[in-house]
Subunit: 324 residues, 2 copies
Amino acid sequence: MKITFLGTSSGTPSKTRNVSGIAIATESKKDWILIDCGEGTQHQIQHTKLSLKKLSTICITHIHGDHCYGLPGLLASAAMSGKDTPLELVAPKPIQSFIESVIKTTDLHLGFKINFHDVTKVEKLLISNEIEIRTVALSHRVPSYAYIFEQTSFKYKLDLKKLEQKQIPRGPSWGKIQSGQDIVLASGETCLADDFLIVEETSKKIIVCGDNDDPRLLNIEASDADLVIHEATYTKEIAEKVGTGPQHSDAERVACFAQSIGLPNLVLTHFSPRYHDEIGRPGSILDIENEARLHYDGNLYLAKDFDIFGFDKNNRLILEDDND
Amino acid sequence: MKITFLGTSSGTPSKTRNVSGIAIATESKKDWILIDCGEGTQHQIQHTKLSLKKLSTICITHIHGDHCYGLPGLLASAAMSGKDTPLELVAPKPIQSFIESVIKTTDLHLGFKINFHDVTKVEKLLISNEIEIRTVALSHRVPSYAYIFEQTSFKYKLDLKKLEQKQIPRGPSWGKIQSGQDIVLASGETCLADDFLIVEETSKKIIVCGDNDDPRLLNIEASDADLVIHEATYTKEIAEKVGTGPQHSDAERVACFAQSIGLPNLVLTHFSPRYHDEIGRPGSILDIENEARLHYDGNLYLAKDFDIFGFDKNNRLILEDDND
């Protein structure tokens, strides 16, 4: 799975960061999933290789505008780009009313069907026969959810030992078996492909969280996750000044949680626009990074708009492309 | 009046042009008016000197998304920026339902009042005691309107002849009269300031049009306008290929209209994203400009995002700043 950050600012866009939006594409890149859709997400997508026509699923974590006000324009542009395949929309129920009202009041004609899934009722949703989606309820001013994306892939390798034992000669027969076709030996005996293949199962579990002031709610699901993407709106110092009203997390809180469960990969995002991007000048995003590193010694990134992440062979998250 | 173009693309944003948005500020820059608010308008505003706190009025020409989907985010960000003065919203009635639904479904709390004005019922709306707004119905797939902004300003000059006749000495007395204060002469006689001032009335009339396939609907109002801002979505050739369904204007149609009424200043905008900005490569925005110049010999501009226009002393529109 490849993860592209389309927006990493909280509340309002800044000059360097848009509001929330994250894309997850499978390796096959047949289609992709969008998590949250702040205003301007369609503009950001124009600067990536993602195609609105191939967008299969949108998951909205909660109803706040910086996570959903880009939906009307994105849906309109997807329709204008010729999208005609159904779109799965997983979201809190009011998002359905929001979209229905937009369609009714603004003469919006979509050439594709939207299948709405109430986030409170999603148990196991299978997307594109590849990715299973579940949810965990979080703690925020309004109902907010984490989406769990689990992908199990199977690789088939030739069982060289058995091929040798059966004296099946290297050549076209091996190719057939590799591709799952049974073969018939010169003796007339049929060999089933499955008997000569070793199945390697690999799975990947990614959790993308909505706004949340209590990371411990992820204790169970995150314990075997490969990656958690969590908000860190403030540093602890600023969070204490702001008070508990907004119900956001600070870097220390998320880092301590990640450390406590031995999480291998953590990406922080959704930074208050008060943190600027001029590293070196006080009050930059580096304050959040430094605070997080103090409490978490796993593989940590602070997302920037247009960062693209993948996994290496050891399941370590790597930055494949960034916006520098 | 200063006019800033925030978006000049039609339908969908392009990499170089956002969807519709135009700002009109008075010379005093006390507050400003936004006409249309496509998605990403608040992002564009961040790259100008305009402040959301000082936005007094929004006029929406019609309900299509590329003219209004930026409203929810812009209102939310205005509230977060601390705006607490009322906002006048002039728009087709469904826009009111759209905003009400957004407020209801997305936990949006605005710290300012929105005074909604149904565009079909606006006769003469006075904004900030300075600018009078009227409307003209246009012709499009949905009801669409042109907004007429008329500003009358008064300049007071000293009547030197009368001052001399009355033997009022140059000095503090002249200053008082200039600022409108009556004075008492050494003789005890009171001189009314108004008797020694010459009033110069100047007025400016700007028409900003929504999508429209029949510019002749502006015949009467545009005949004494200083400036008309009109869509020219296509060249004539492409408009004929596209057909009459979308009900847009082409460059020739608008240019011929402007020529027929002797319009002094015309700005074209709302260009189909099919016209790119790489002048020199076929299919650029230059095709629209060339077509317009062929039929209109007045002062013509094709707007670009972030262009700022003003008027010189001869009421000729001038480009004060652009995005190059």
